[in-house]
């Protein structure tokens, strides 16, 4: 298997794995946030802030992978 074929196979696979990982992370974060809000509704604002920051970082990670995917596919041509 040559270099270009490896990138063609690995880049979409990596992007898919990153998407699955992010979806799992966001799902867990939202689930935990809902649970925490149900237990302590008065702390909802702080939980929402932590949730937004966490979701932002997870989303950023996926976007970096998406950009890396573009770079890798650019090398394939």
């Amino acid at each position: 298997m040559d270099f270009q074929a490896m990138i063609s196979l690995g880049a979409p696979l990596g992007l898919g794995m990153a998407a699955v990982g992010s979806a799992y992370g966001i799902g867990r974060a939202v689930g935990s946030a809902m649970e925490a809000m149900g237990r302590q509704p008065e702390a909802a604002a702080k939980i929402q802030t932590a949730m937004i920051i966490g979701a932002g970082f997870i989303e950023a990670l996926t976007i970096y992978v998406f950009i890396a995917f573009f770079v890798a596919m650019g090398k394939v041509g």
Partner: protein
């Protein structure tokens, strides 16, 4: 002093990054190629709009009184197809270097980390410490 790390923290981060973006655009092109600075600026603005809509989405969808479904759907429609499409077109602009777009997008998170670090170093969220003055006043 500032309040604890409540929901306004996100708004303050967005404002700080917006001011930083304007400073980069105003002074950056004097020292660096214009399109590189424009790419950094575009990345920053895209990141600000993205986090703004993410914050709005979390506020209407994840709250104790239940989600506002109509507002959440509207925000999802703006954020996911339209904003991501705009991001895709930014990636496709040939004058913009990918690295500068990424630097601009990442600066929002750098601002966020520095703000949190500042709060930790200055001890602004250390509300678990006992208030000695208050105890002294009670004793008096």
């Amino acid at each position: 002093m500032t309040s604890s790390m409540d929901i306004s923290f996100i708004d303050r981060t967005l404002k700080t990054t917006g001011i930083l973006a304007l400073i980069v655009l105003a002074f950056g092109w004097l020292h660096y190629p214009f399109f590189d600075i424009l790419a950094v600026f575009s990345g920053m603005i895209w990141g600000i709009i993205n986090l703004y809509f993410l914050a709005l989405l979390v506020r209407v969808a994840i709250r104790p009184e239940g989600p506002d479904k109509a507002a959440a759907l509207g925000l999802m429609f703006i954020k996911f197809p339209m904003l991501y499409l705009a991001g895709y077109f930014l990636l496709k602009v040939t004058q913009f270097e990918l690295a500068y777009l990424v630097i601009g997008f990442s600066s929002l998170f750098a601002v966020m980390i520095l703000k949190v670090l500042g709060r930790v170093i200055l001890g602004l969220d250390g509300n678990n410490k006992p208030n000695h003055n208050h105890h002294q006043q009670e004793a008096v």
